[in-house]
């Protein structure tokens, strides 16, 4: 049962990454879109793509957090204590991102719009970075089993920082790929070309950072590296193949199925991490899926909640995305 809940948590993290992560990536491209006049077209496309879905995508984070503390409370308490600082910073970013984005839509004066937009865009960069350092810190075994104080060293190791940058690049990559398809669907050729270039750039950046992180782990944490290139190797290879496929398809100007391949690539990275770590929750400690403080009844309840989510939430999401895909949602004509 603990394994099933661990898989549910990893699936929840994957969905947050490929759905919520793309919303952060949208903010990143908004940040880099340039001056008011030049950035108008990409910002409009980003805004329309994110608006009706970002809050629903954001709920995956809450869902993951709840599963984490309910199923593995001891690991949760240690992570929240040892990595308090980057988590506070990511949280500040979440507040600024959501409020800035919602406010910008309602404001009409340009100066205030810019201020709200800057809050949205800048925090879209910070939040995934700090989340990445948290994941990097956990994966490198920097969180003790009974953490009693916050540690700066835990999340500022080269691997943790590389993971932070990798998260930012991956968010930008997913967003750009999704926006290529969205622009194509609208017949907007300039925007399609615009985001194709950015998707390719982000793919190179994410691929480079992944390799850099792999080399770093080989030196700093050979045991983890061996598992990544051992039992998790098929997933690592899959991630690489997906990245190359997306890059090639973008070069060829083909976009059919490209979003799914990009998402699959990111998912493969997350599952490679999970498989490499299994069954340990906090590497370097004895905290595993089964002994992190929950009982069988709790695991069963969480599996029931997950089944209910599949029955209730998945069709609702399908409806939301279908309506958005047909451009039923939104203010534009």
């Amino acid at each position: 049962m603990a394994e099933a809940v661990g898989a549910i948590l990893l699936a929840g993290i994957t969905l947050y990454a490929v759905l919520g992560g793309a919303d952060f990536g949208g903010g990143l491209w908004d940040l880099l879109a340039g001056t008011t006049a030049r950035g108008r077209a990409p910002r409009e496309l980003i805004d329309e793509s994110i608006t009706p879905v970002w809050e629903a995508n954001h709920v995956w984070l809450i869902f993951d957090l709840v599963i984490f503390w309910t199923a593995f409370p001891h690991a949760f308490a240690s992570v929240m204590t040892a990595l308090a600082l980057p988590i506070w910073l990511a949280l500040a970013g979440i507040v600024l991102r959501g409020a800035g984005f919602a406010f910008r839509k309602e404001i009409t004066r340009l100066g205030q719009q810019r201020a709200a937009g800057a809050a949205f865009a800048f925090s879209s960069l910070l939040t995934p970075f700090f989340m990445g350092t948290v994941v990097g810190a956990i994966a490198t075994g920097a969180v003790p089993a009974n953490a009693s104080h916050a540690s700066l060293a835990a999340w500022t190791s080269p691997t943790a920082l590389l993971t932070g940058f990798l998260f930012v690049a991956a968010c930008g990559y997913l967003a750009a790929v999704y926006l290529v398809v969205e622009a194509g669907r609208r017949g907007d050729r300039p925007m399609r070309a615009y985001f194709t270039r950015r998707a390719q750039g982000a793919a190179v950046a994410a691929g480079g950072l992944s390799l850099a992180a792999l080399f770093e782990v080989q030196n700093s944490d050979p045991a983890f590296f061996n598992r990544l290139t051992g039992r998790a190797l098929p997933l690592v290879v899959l991630a690489g193949v997906c990245g190359l496929a997306v890059f090639t398809l973008l070069t060829a100007g083909r976009t059919k199925g490209i979003r799914a391949i990009a998402a699959l690539g990111v998912a493969a990275v997350i599952w490679a991490w999970g498989v490499a770590q299994y069954p340990v929750l906090l590497p370097g400690t004895g905290v595993t899926l089964t002994n992190a403080g929950a009982t069988q009844a709790t695991f069963v309840a969480l599996v029931v909640v997950a089944v209910a989510a599949v029955i209730l939430v998945v069709p609702s999401f399908a409806l939301l995305y279908a309506l958005q895909g047909r451009r039923v949602l939104g203010g534009g004509e």
Binding site: T51, P52, V53, E55, A56, H58, V59, I62, F63, L65, V66, W69, T70, A71, P73, H74, F76, A77, V79, M80, T81, A84, I87, W88, L91, A92, I94, V95, G98, A99, F101, A102, F103, K105, E106, I107, S148, H149, A150, G293, A294, T295, A297, T298, A301, L302, V305, A309, L312, V313, S316, F317, L319, L320, L323, R327, V328, L329, G330, G331
Partner: protein, 470 residues
């Protein structure tokens, strides 16, 4: 900031991290709970307006529903992020609580997550589907938001109820060995806490909406638009107020049994005794009650319907297990009950006038009361939270874990508290500023709509036809 009182009081209690941690929790929860009320109840009010608009072809009600859902979009977004802050704070501020009881109290949170999903998904459809979804399809897309708001609230309050009356699990040598999910979800106090908070949310949202239009009516905007807006908020809230007072009265009696020390603090019962008087107001300092109104036997009467009813005082537990600031609990309770009763009277006034004359009351006092009814509902609701949270101290899980045991061992909470107070101050001000800006924009639109067809062109509104296409 509304939580600053709680901050100072918490600071007076001594301790290390627990003081700033409690202050920060109070500030962030006190802020979020207002948005949560609108998240729970505003969708129902908007749907009511849209229903009337569609059913009776009432353009005014439809226009109001459309505008309210724009405001709702802002409130839901701010509520979503401030709610996220609270979720993280459970771990960042109270790792001791989560380490020990995360696997127990997490299950209702998991259920809440499901409803939060449905709320956010259908909010995306409803809020942004006004233009292209056909009338009734659009209305139905909003129903899941209202329903999941209520069920989501039940799940969150289940956790708070469980903290007040914990049960549904066994603990052996400090380890949780089994969990009964059903008993965790429906703990003893859930039966009264759930309806109490959901009704409070409807009162906050209903009176809050009514306040906006009462202000307009006071300023002389006595038109159909303002009366309709007032009625759509005021009527549901006023109708629910007597039910809320009944639930609250039942809850107080149940607390006398379930959490006698909390009840003793609410009513200034120092010693367990019979023929206990009721104190209205008054400050409790060093065993004396100053400036309070004493009603003999009344507390015993309220608890057990007879003057001889024994009421348990806080002397039933050692001083270390008593809430540190009883006067705050008592006064917050009195303010809550007083404001609730006032809101009941305002509703009765409107009902009486409607029964006799088929119209709203004319005196300006009624509209002034209507204008402050939203604020009164918010203050009453916040006071209720002060009573239940302060009254449970020094426990975080009643009788099992103290708040000090739950608090983080990390330093620097004073820093995060300062950032939160400033940041939430800005966030609150910005949210109110945006809502006021929307209101000004709508009023400007109304004036434009009313322009005469053959009048002279207004600058910036009517442009030459050749420029319209560009």
């Amino acid at each position: 900031m509304r939580a600053s009182g709680m901050v100072l009081l918490a600071a007076a209690q001594g301790g290390t991290q627990v003081v700033p941690a409690r202050a920060q929790m109070a500030a962030t929860l006190g802020f979020h709970i207002i948005l949560a009320c609108f998240g729970i109840a505003l969708p129902s009010i908007v749907l009511l307006a849209e229903f009337i608009g569609l059913r009776r072809h009432n353009e005014t009600a439809l226009l109001l529903a459309r505008r309210w859902s724009q405001a709702m979009g802002v409130l839901i977004a701010v509520g979503a992020v401030t709610g996220t802050v609270l979720s993280f704070e459970l771990g960042l501020l109270w790792p001791g609580l989560m380490r020990q009881y995360g696997s127990v109290l997490g299950v209702p949170f998991g259920v809440e997550g499901l409803f939060f999903f449905l709320e956010a998904i259908f909010a995306g459809i409803y809020l942004w589907g006004w233009r292209r979804l056909p009338g009734w399809a659009h209305w139905w897309s909003g129903v899941p938001i209202a329903v999941s708001g209520i069920f989501g609230a039940m799940a969150v309050i289940a956790v708070n109820s469980w903290m007040n009356t914990p049960g549904g699990f066994t603990e052996v040598d400090g380890q949780i060995t089994s969990v009964n999910v059903w008993q965790v979800f429906f703990s003893r106090s859930a039966i009264y806490e759930m309806p109490h908070m959901i009704l409070a949310a409807y009162m906050v949202a209903g009176f809050g909406v009514a306040s906006v239009y009462a202000v307009g009516i006071l300023r002389g905007r006595r038109d159909r638009y303002h009366y309709t807006g007032f009625a759509l908020g005021f009527v549901p809230a006023a109708v629910l107020t007597p039910f809320q007072i009944f639930v609250g009265d039942t809850a107080a009696r149940a607390i006398a049994h379930d959490q006698p020390v909390k009840f003793a603090a609410m009513e200034y019962v120092a010693r367990t005794s019979r023929q206990v008087p009721e104190w209205l107001g008054g400050a409790y300092v060093n065993g004396h009650i100053y400036a309070g109104i004493k009603i003999p036997y009344m507390d015993s009467l309220l608890v057990g319907f007879g003057p001889g009813t024994k009421v348990i005082g806080w002397d039933s537990v050692p001083p270390a297990d008593r809430p540190p600031v009883v006067w705050l609990i008592h006064l917050a309770f009195d303010v809550m009950v007083g404001l609730g009763s006032l809101l009941l009277l305002v509703g009765l006034w409107a009902a009486w006038t409607w029964w006799r004359r088929r119209r709203w009351p004319r005196p300006r006092v009624f509209w002034a009361l209507g204008a402050v009814s939203g604020l009164a509902a918010v203050v009453a609701m916040e006071c209720g939270w002060v009573v239940t949270e302060e009254g449970r101290q020094p426990w975080v899980v009643y009788g099992l874990q103290t708040t000090a045991q739950a608090a983080t061992t990390n330093g620097g909470i004073l820093t995060s508290l300062s950032i939160v107070v400033v940041g939430y101050g800005v966030l609150g001000a910005a949210t109110i500023a945006i809502l006021l800006m929307l209101s000004r924009r709508w009023r400007r639109d109304d004036r434009d709509d009313a322009s005469v067809p053959y009048g002279p062109p207004r600058a910036g509104v009517d442009r030459p036809a050749s420029h319209v296409e560009s």
